[in-house]
């Protein structure tokens, strides 16, 4: 039996999946052992998923309903979009939205690209693999409070070590987070620095689970490394890559700890994102309805942004 299994394992994934799909998901009107097989499947699936779903619902249903109600009602008891309108009309809202979009896209892209390139580079490395994969986790292993404070101290234009080193080389360092036009970029870099290990870890694991055969087949067929990457590796890792991208983006949308510790949204509104604004509304101004409205906006934006990717990932089994 072991030998049979291994033979099957050498085939490439999409091919076998196709066969598997055909084998088990006959169209409904072709009834063979359909009813008992798929009922079994369903029962199996329910056992695996129901308990967790129930618990989640219990925990989350009240906060979600509460938030939605808060967002759509006003102090005087009316129902409507008043909170949303006042949030959007509040000063600086346009800039806050722009900041959020730029931050999300840039931080996601940077950390994803770096994470991928590092995971890919690891594949060429034999000796020292463990060393690198342990070291490269460090930015994420540090607590955001600590790394945020350390970065802001290092990047202090006058007192910090970064500008001090630049001064040695004769370069006058920029204001980093204290200058309105460089603040957002700096915060993006810090966040990307912190989350690259996240992308790296997942993609690295993905690489680890690749079987050798497709790669060696490509090599035998004379593919260049670039071609191998594009046409064999990336398609095989497609789901993993999409999932990484998805989560990175969702986290970047609501990134809070780092920005708060480093700039609190300043200078001016240069680094104020939607989440920072929600925080201020909730814990400084005590405006729960505005907070809820911003939260709902964030939720909708995130859902829209990630819908496509979510569908792409789910597609495989469809």
């Amino acid at each position: 039996m072991a030998k049979d299994l291994s033979l099957k394992m050498t085939t490439t994934a999409p091919e076998s999946r196709e066969r598997g799909v055909a084998h088990f998901f006959r169209p409904r009107h072709v009834a063979r052992h359909r009813s008992s097989a798929s009922r079994d499947m369903r029962r199996f699936a329910l056992i695996l998923t129901l308990p967790l779903t129930v618990v989640l619902l219990i925990l989350l249903i009240y906060p979600m309903i509460y938030t939605i109600i808060l967002a759509f009602t006003s102090d005087k008891g009316g129902v409507g979009l008043g909170n949303f309108i006042s949030s959007v009309a509040a000063s600086g809202f346009g800039q806050v939205v722009t900041n959020t979009l730029i931050f999300t896209c840039a931080s996601t892209a940077i950390s994803f690209l770096f994470g991928f390139s590092l995971a890919y580079a690891m594949e060429f490395v034999g000796f020292g693999r463990r060393f690198f994969s342990s070291i490269l986790i460090l930015p994420m292993a540090l607590m955001p409070v600590v790394s945020g404070l350390t970065w802001s101290m290092m990047l202090n234009p006058a007192l910090g070590v970064v500008n001090a080193l630049l001064r040695v080389v004769g370069v006058h360092g920029p204001g980093w987070v204290t200058q309105a036009d460089t603040a957002l970029a700096t915060v993006i870099l810090i966040d990307a620095w912190q989350w690259t290990p996240f992308c790296f870890l997942i993609i690295h694991a993905g690489f680890q689970s690749l079987t050798r055969e497709p790669l060696e087949a490509a090599l035998i067929d004379g593919a260049t490394r670039w071609q191998t990457l594009r046409m064999v590796i990336i398609p095989l890792l497609r789901n993993i890559l999409l999932v990484t991208l998805l989560f990175r983006m969702m986290d970047a949308f609501k990134a809070f700890d780092t920005i708060f510790v480093v700039t609190k949204g300043g200078p001016g509104r240069a680094t104020e994102t939607l989440v920072i604004r929600a925080f201020m509304q909730a814990f400084q101004f005590y405006e729960p309805r505005t907070t809820a409205a911003i939260g709902v906006l964030l939720l909708i934006a995130t859902m829209l942004a990630t819908r496509r990717i979510g569908d792409l990932i789910g597609q495989e089994v469809e």
């Binding site: 204001g175 309105a180 700039t263 200078p267 509104r269 005590y286």
Partner: protein, 430 residues
């Protein structure tokens, strides 16, 4: 955590001191029966602050005096503020007594989150009014505690004055006399910065810049809001004040817009700036040679005078009691004890300024301060101003912060940015 440590260490000390000062204690503390709540448990929540650091070791005295079991929790200010806000909003606030900022008073009162202290103060069983002496508190301290002339929900525990701290050696080297008005201050800062090695002054440009800014505004004759809560932030005097503030900021170390309390402290303690126009709380740290490189070169002057006089900003932290507390009598005993004359004199001798006038005359309490510091604080506090609280306080301060930062970085002019703040304030207060 910390309480376990000092509980163990001071247990023996406590026993000893109880024996020797048993009789002295009762006479020191007025005529009420301090042991009336003996055995109760009290949850006290504090933000990390010099006051908290000074009073923590003294809480054993309270435990001995009352038999109340005090459990202390603490967090740094940012997280403290978040936790208090979150817990109060969710209705799960677990603490009985907590440190509060007066800007929250209107909101807390409106939401009935804090207990009214008035009935407790007038209860002769709980308070010895003559001994407690409410009039002893500075006018500003009384102002933040009362709403409508009656005690509201808090008592002041610290006093902070906005004063000018400077490097005697730097000013002497450049033959500058300590400035007494704003023009002199600006000229001095310019001269020092031009000489090259050190920044002329360090100022706040961050989230709480409104505090020192208010002192400048009032000294220039301006105001933020009328008593009827009408914004007047775009008056010519306010604009002049902002221009002065931004001009001073040009002589501050690079990155001033992210400078808040921690950064301006570091700037002075590490010798990065020569002058400091902010809260007196820095004093005990800057004179501590294990923390400060400039401990011996410090001079202190009162807040400079502006065209409308000397009106530095002032601030008082306070203690409040949670409305949901089931141990309000015990809580009030704690607040009364912590804000009483003997305890505040004790704290003053440890370097935390008290909001009570009599403490400044007690020889022991003021011994650790250099005369120029006490003089500066007293002078500044007599005519000091405090920014009145209102229900939309932080919402109003936010656009002001943005404006201050934008003018400092040169991204916009003082008059247009303050006009924009005026419009935003009108919308918020409408």
């Amino acid at each position: 955590m910390k309480r376990r440590e000092f509980l163990a260490v001071t247990a023996a000390v406590c026993a000893l001191s109880k024996l020797s000062s048993a009789s002295a204690a009762t006479s020191d503390f007025g005529s009420i029966n301090w042991k009336q709540q003996s055995g109760a448990k009290l949850n006290v929540f504090m933000a990390r602050h010099p006051w908290q650091e000074a009073i923590e070791p003294e809480i054993d005295q309270f435990r001995a005096l009352t038999g109340i079991n005090v459990q202390l929790s603490e967090l740094p200010e940012d997280q403290y503020a978040t936790k208090v806000a979150a817990d109060l909003s969710a209705g799960v606030f677990e603490y009985d007594v907590f440190m509060s900022q007066y800007y929250d008073a209107p909101r807390y009162e409106a939401m009935k989150w804090t207990a009214a202290l008035d009935p407790l103060i007038h209860d002769p069983k709980l308070t010895d009014k003559t001994w407690y002496d409410w009039q002893d508190f500075f006018p500003g301290a009384r102002q933040i505690a009362t709403i409508g002339g009656k005690y509201a929900d808090r008592v002041a525990i610290t006093a902070e004055a906005q004063i000018l701290i400077y490097r005697k050696d730097v000013l002497a080297k450049l033959a500058i006399t300590p400035p007494s008005d704003f023009d002199g201050l600006l000229a001095a800062a310019n001269k020092i910065s031009k000489a090259g090695n050190i920044s002329g002054i360090t100022l706040r440009g961050g989230t709480y810049a409104w505090w020192p800014f208010y002192g400048v505004v009032k000294s220039f004759g301006g105001e933020f809001l009328t008593p009827e809560l009408k914004p007047v932030i775009d008056s010519p005097q306010d604009i002049a004040a902002l221009q002065m503030y931004a001009a001073l900021a040009k002589d501050a170390p690079q990155g001033v817009t992210s400078y808040d309390w921690d950064e301006i402290n570091t700037a002075m303690l590490s010798g990065q700036a020569a002058m400091f126009l902010d809260s007196s709380v820095i004093y005990s740290r800057i004179k501590d040679p294990s923390l400060s490189t400039v401990a011996n070169d410090i001079g202190v002057a009162p807040f400079p005078t502006g065209p409308a006089g000397r009106h530095g900003s002032s601030h008082y932290w306070s203690l409040s009691m949670a409305a949901a507390s089931k141990r309000q009598d015990a809580g009030w005993l704690f607040i009364q004890w912590a804000t009483s004359k003997p305890v505040q004199a004790l704290l003053q001798s440890k370097g935390v300024l008290a909001p009570r006038a009599s403490v400044y005359n007690t020889s022991g309490a003021s011994k650790m301060y250099a005369p120029d510091f006490l003089e500066a604080v007293k002078t500044s506090l007599t005519s000091a101003v405090i920014l009145p609280a209102n229900a939309k306080f932080f919402e109003l301060m936010d656009p002001l912060r943005v404006a201050i930062q934008q003018v400092i970085t040169g991204d916009s002019a003082a008059d247009s940015s303050l006009k924009s703040v005026e419009t935003q304030w009108q919308k918020i207060l409408a």
